[in-house]
């Protein structure tokens, strides 16, 4: 069965201008299909985060092309890209980036409120459902600083899920977590793929974690060296 391509990088090159030009990514091409769980591994500094920022449309300063859901993201306006991120991409970073002035429920609701497709009652129900799915519905009305690191990361995952994105991207989402919490997060990701057919692209330096994913892309000096299926 032909699988639908969710995101496709076509010959992406990126270099940083400085005293000397540093080429961080050279000719990176690959594709991710729907309900695929892909991990990216590589040594620290090899350009994994840089690649992810480009794939997430936050960094627009690169050569090559990026297709998201079949649409090129090249030369799009800031507001258009913001809308794409809002509707099609969910993010999980190493740091949770929850807003401390809002309770956890509201933090989860924010991207959906921004999208504005549903009433705030509906959004609240969706947010509760996501929190419940991640086993932290009891923490909904608490504030982020009242949660443990693992719980915060789960709220961040719920926030990434709220708009039912095409793909969830994670930049070392378990980097700050202990083994137990890492496993919990991994199980969540796995469930998302298996039960909810969610596509995932997770950057990690944790080889155990990567080994458990469906496909691993290995990077070295800004190039893809091999992918393990």
């Amino acid at each position: 069965m032909e699988k639908k391509t969710v995101i496709e990088a076509i010959g992406i090159c990126k270099s940083f201008q400085g005293p000397t030009e540093v080429k961080v990514l050279s000719d990176v091409s690959f594709a991710i299909y729907s309900s695929e769980f892909v991990s990216v591994v590589g040594k620290s500094g090899c350009g994994k985060s840089t690649l992810l920022y480009i794939l997430s449309t936050m960094d627009t300063n690169y050569e090559g092309d990026l297709m998201l859901d079949g649409v090129s993201m090249k030369n799009k306006k800031d507001a258009v890209l913001a809308k794409v991120r809002n509707e099609k991409i969910g993010f999980v970073f190493q740091f949770h980036y929850l807003i401390n002035e809002f309770n956890n429920l509201r933090n989860v609701m924010l991207p959906a409120l921004k999208m504005g497709k549903f009433t705030s009652e509906e959004i609240e129900a969706h947010a509760y459902a996501k929190l419940k799915m991640l086993g932290i519905e009891k923490e909904a009305l608490k504030f982020p600083n009242q949660l443990s690191g693992g719980q915060k990361q789960r709220v961040a995952i719920a926030r990434a899920l709220i708009n039912e994105p095409l793909i969830i991207m994670g930049d070392e989402p378990t980097g700050n977590l202990d083994k137990k919490n890492s496993d919990i997060v991994f199980d969540i990701f796995k469930e998302l793929v298996e039960t909810y057919k969610q596509s995932l692209l997770i950057v990690t330096h944790d080889l155990d974690f990567a080994a458990k994913t469906q496909r691993t892309i290995t990077m070295e000096d800004g190039q893809l060296t091999h992918t393990i299926h």
Binding site: Y53, M58, A82, R85, F91, F93, I99, K114, M115, D171
Partner: protein, 419 residues
Amino acid sequence: MKFKLISQIAIALLTARLKQSLVAAFGVTFSITMFITLLSFMGGLNDMLDDLILNRTPHIRLYSEILPSPVQPIEQSIHNADAYHFVAHIKPKNELSSIRNSEAIMDALNQDNHVLGFAPKTALPIFYNLGTIHLSGILNGIDIDAESRLFSFQDYVIAGEPIDLKNTPNSLILGIGVANKMLVQIGDMVQITTSEGTPFNLKVVGIFQSGIEELDKVQSYTTIATTQKILGKPASYINDIQVKIFDINMAPALAKQYHTLFDTEAIDIQTANAQFETGSSVRTLISYAVGITLLIVAGFGIYNILNMMIYEKMDSIAILKATGFSGRDVNAIFITIALSIGLIGGALGLLFGLGLSAIIGEIPFNTPSLPTVTTYPINYNPKFYIIGAIFSIITTYLAGYFPSRKASQIDPVDIIRGK
């Protein structure tokens, strides 16, 4: 809907820095309070001084002046028409300073619907006789009813009844300066001499205090008939017609019109009191300058708090952008923060300004020159409040503009990479 979300986020950021936000808002409150108070007080002072001068000043004064004939006979000569004439020997006639045709003019003024009213006057120079000393002065023959109605004459009569001037023959109301010098009281007789040397006895029925000392030392008032009697002139003998019109701004135009129509001199209030207007506008200008300076200082307060918030909330801004808020949304959030600080601070400032000026308006203020004023004058002109509100919004918007732009331009990649 979108505005609701933006304002919710703005409020969340505000509460994160509640104390500093309140201090910034208080800065606006303080400056608007001072702005309103200052302008109301200055406005009140200006009005008071306007009253002091303008209320007693006719909008247009018609008088006749002793002037040389503008067309000298030699100029009417058909010979040497182009030549320059040095000979100008026809001196003014001794027709004195009576307005010609005064009765016809007053009839015409009665018909004119620009005119609120007018008060005729016959003034003559006199001497107050004080033993062997003669104090020079001016005796004004006035129409007491018109004078009271148009120029609040009764307000300045501090002893006696103005109406007695009409009821008691050969009476006068004496300026307080002269009265004190002559040691006279109501009911006393004073002797005056005209410039021709004719003595005359008049009974004091009132004491007058204008607040302008120079005037109070020389002026006294009687009826027109009395002055005409002293001068030995007919009832049509009038020096001066003081006209009040409905729209003071029309005074210069009407003065010109009357000048040609009635063939008298006519001077309007704007020309006669040009320097006075300047004083008022300078005072107003200073109040505005001080008020705006205070506001600008408050603006810097807002600018600071916003910069601090942006610096502290870098992470929140980054995640908002990463999850789909555009630069414009972030800009709107911070502008909303700035404007709510400005609006809340400004609204309180308007209220406190009203309160403070009301308090000042209750403070007793007695001055012999202004018998009708008992407390500090305050002008509650709504214009000041509207200007204050607009200024507070404009300054807070400007104060918020640059920080908000900075926030909207934050690159989330920079922030996220830094963690």
